[in-house]
Amino acid sequence: MVIDAHTHLFVRWMDLKGVKPSEMVDTLKSVGVDKAIAFTLDGFFSDCPGHNDELASLVAECPDELIAFGTVDPYQGQAAVKEVTRCVEQLGMKGMKFHPWLQAFSVTHATLDDVAEECARLGVPMVFHDGTPPYSSTPQVANLADSHPETKVILGHSGLHDQWPDALRWTERLSNLYLCTCGAPFIALQKMADRLGPDRLLYGSDAGWASREWVLYHLETIQSLSLSEADKAKILGGNAAKLLGISGG
């Protein structure tokens, strides 16, 4: 099973217009991707609960293929923690996604510690945009995983172009830290797979406009790595299925 661990469903962001869930699923299926984890994008700017509801209804259009991760605004304090619980228990979401620089909070925000503990209690991972100082630098995000060893934290971009050495260092040390492959250079992914083994890498494309070419570029990146087919299968979906408790992987 191939799972794209990093996609966005949204209505409008900057000058981008989101695509329909069925369009995204068709695009993904046409290149052999079975399922996708979907995040909001416009929900990083306002009304997280409202956008969580919206994302839940978008994902419901393709329930067999799409898996929703919600988001919350830590400035809302305990209401944010309760919203995490609602996302998972009532909306059926499987994880939470954060974009600290777009959402304008520091990863050291005290509420985020409570959110991390709640995610651990619910058994769902937290994904962060990373690789972008000063609010989303890779060590800032990794430090949250260091503070909360029971919480699974995914570096959404494996450090991007400048911080992938940080992503590698912290993931080597922390067993609760995972790497989503989208955005990191090819050579970085090869080094990560060589150093960490295949179990901590999750394939992702950042498809949000569901451009087939972009999804293909990311898929072919994983397929071009110098790894066994079994290891590639783990990165392409096996690891994500295990992390989310999806059977049939």
């Binding site: 900057m14 000058d15 981008l16 690789g131 972008t132 100082p133 971009h157 991007l160 172009h161 400048d162 955005g183 250079p185 090819f186 050579i187 970085a188 080094k191 406009w209 451009s211 070419e213 972009w214 293909l216 570029y217 072919e220 990146t221 071009s224």
Partner: protein
């Protein structure tokens, strides 16, 4: 329309470094596999940052061994001052066709005037200057715009178009001037970026792979899938760079 055999990769590395490690033979093998005729070669990290002369000599020797395949771009760390200027002159005299600068590796900011003397040498030899861009504080697209305006008669290559975090600045910065060319390696050439590139015009885009950091074949396929016309693709895949280099004086 250009034939597949005349593709030129505007940005590759050879040498022994941190992530930029590959031999000339490895690069040639990938070029052959992808139908890439020529490639701009740059040094690996230690030679870009510190051991400039050793790296430049290595590039010149590789280009001498494969004169029809490699186009060497010299690395000179501007902090070496007059020695860097002297080294760049030597490199241009001995066959380098452009300058490669990497602010985060070399420890300077595009806003610091220490880079001016090297750009004056580029002007003198009509050679383009390639800049890594995309890294916070020291190599941002609008920093390059300001620098390019100080040297209107030097051609600037904006490596990676500002990717990753400055992906939305690359095209707008280039659109404000005539002497910035956008090099595509590592950049997300999709959606709104492709649309704005088309508005800017294919004449300002240079295909590059940044091999071995990124995979030559995947970077090339990325550009071939953008939906540019065959003529535009021909320009992007080699014609534009050829034109830029033809102005250079040896």
């Amino acid at each position: 329309m250009r034939t597949k055999a005349s593709i030129i990769d505007a940005h590759c590395h050879i040498g022994q470094g941190y992530a930029m490690t590959q031999t000339a033979e490895e690069l040639l093998r990938q070029m052959d596999e992808c139908g890439v005729e020529k490639a701009v070669i740059c040094s690996a990290e230690p030679q870009i940052a510190v051991y400039n002369r050793e790296g430049n000599d290595f590039l010149l020797a590789a280009a001498k061994d494969h004169p029809d395949r490699f186009i060497p771009f010299a690395a000179c760390n501007p902090w070496f001052g007059a020695r860097a200027v002297e080294e760049l002159r030597r490199c241009f005299r001995e066959g380098c066709r452009g300058l490669k600068l990497h602010p985060p590796l070399q420890g300077f900011s595009l806003a610091q005037e220490i880079v001016y003397p090297l750009l004056e040498v580029c002007r003198e030899f009509s050679a383009p200057a390639y800049f890594h861009t995309g890294t916070l504080l020291c190599s941002e697209p609008f920093q390059l715009l300001e620098l390019s305006r100080r040297f209107p008669d030097v051609n600037f290559i904006m490596g990676h178009m500002g990717a990753t975090d400055y992906w939305y600045d690359g095209v707008p910065a280039a659109a404000k001037t005539q002497n910035i060319y956008l090099e595509t390696s590592a950049a997300a050439v999709i959606g709104s970026v492709t649309r704005s590139l088309k508005e800017l015009g294919a004449g300002r885009i240079l295909f590059g792979s940044d091999s071995p950091i990124f995979r030559l074949k995947l970077e090339l396929t990325k550009i071939q899938r953008t939906g540019f016309s065959p003529d535009e693709l021909g320009a992007i895949l080699g014609g534009n760079l050829e034109r830029l280099l033809s102005a250079a004086k040896a």
